[in-house]
């Protein structure tokens, strides 16, 4: 689903605005369990050890356009504190942030890759950024939507 709308949060030209809905199912706790991301099973080590204060999870869309060789847009994020339910089962989520492109590169773009990553925030120490090894490709249609509301 894609519209071409004036980007009212940024520069004053018309840019492509994309709408993506997604499901996230994740179990970020046990080494034996899997993180399932659109039916791709990824094994995770137990992340929440004694030195982990929280995880900052985010879903980012990565793609290439004529204007820019690499684009990354964070669509959704969540803070998961130690002690929170590590199982995520989110269905039909709408992106938290507007998916504006820098220009008009979403039209007809067949290869938008969505990946789930997280930033481990320790009680003290190194701040690693980890990317989940699964990813999903989303193609955008060749035409703009003008009427449907999100």
């Amino acid at each position: 689903l894609r519209k071409n709308v004036e980007d009212f949060t940024g520069p004053r030209e018309r840019s492509d605005l994309g709408f993506v809905t997604f499901d996230i199912t994740a179990d970020i706790l046990d080494a034996k369990k899997c993180m399932v991301f659109f039916l791709t099973c990824i094994h995770l080590q137990s992340i929440f050890d004694w030195n982990v204060k929280q995880l900052f999870l985010y879903l980012s869309a990565e793609y290439s356009t004529k204007n820019n060789a690499l684009n990354q847009v964070v669509l959704w994020d969540k803070i998961m504190l130690r002690g929170d339910n590590p199982r995520l089962s989110l269905k039909d989520m709408k992106s938290k942030y507007f998916f504006f492109d820098d220009g008009n590169g979403l039209k007809g773009n067949r290869n938008i890759t969505l990946t789930l990553s997280w930033n481990v925030v320790p009680n003290a120490g190194i701040l690693p950024l980890v990317t989940g090894s699964g990813h999903v490709s989303v193609p955008f249609p060749d035409t703009y939507e003008t009427t449907k509301s999100y």
């Binding site: 985010y58 820019n68 994020d77 803070i79 003290a124 190194i126």
Partner: protein, 199 residues
Amino acid sequence: RALRWGRGLCWPRSGGVRGGAAMDLFGDLRRMNKRQLYYQVLNFAMIVSSALMIWKGLIVVTGSESPIVVVLSGSMEPAFHRGDLLFLTNFHDDPIRAGEIVVFKVEGRDIPIVHRVIKVHEKGNGNIKFLTKGDNNEVDDRGLYKEGQNWLEKKDVVGRARGFLPYVGMVTIIMNDYPKFKYALLAVMGAYVLLKRES
């Protein structure tokens, strides 16, 4: 230190019983001959120089003009709170990617801001422009940038947060908010180093 009696007037000329303890300290200083005094001063200068060299060394090794920063606001809670210490690197070849925590300076302001990168647009030639947002803020940082500025560039970056220690930076904040505390601390440190005698 004899008390001299003038014509009916009597007050101590030098020292006397009341100023005994203070006189001992200054007597100590006077007894320290010039050579010892210079030695103490050199010792002090060496300590200051070593500290500065370690700081400059860190700047070189990390590539960042300010490798250690203190978090001043709550815009990155619950990850970072006011008073936490952040360790930064700023390697030239490290690309800026979404999700990274960067410390940047807005043109014209000298207080750096610690927020997360939420949008990256990189051209083929390596030109990057990106947008940031604090975890604890509702909106992105465009309101914090310069008038008319919509994106940040590599040149605005002071460094990327690689490691962190909680609470330790509170000392810096206290010294900033209560300058008397800072001077008192410096005075005590200076006095200790200058007057300490190596036996």
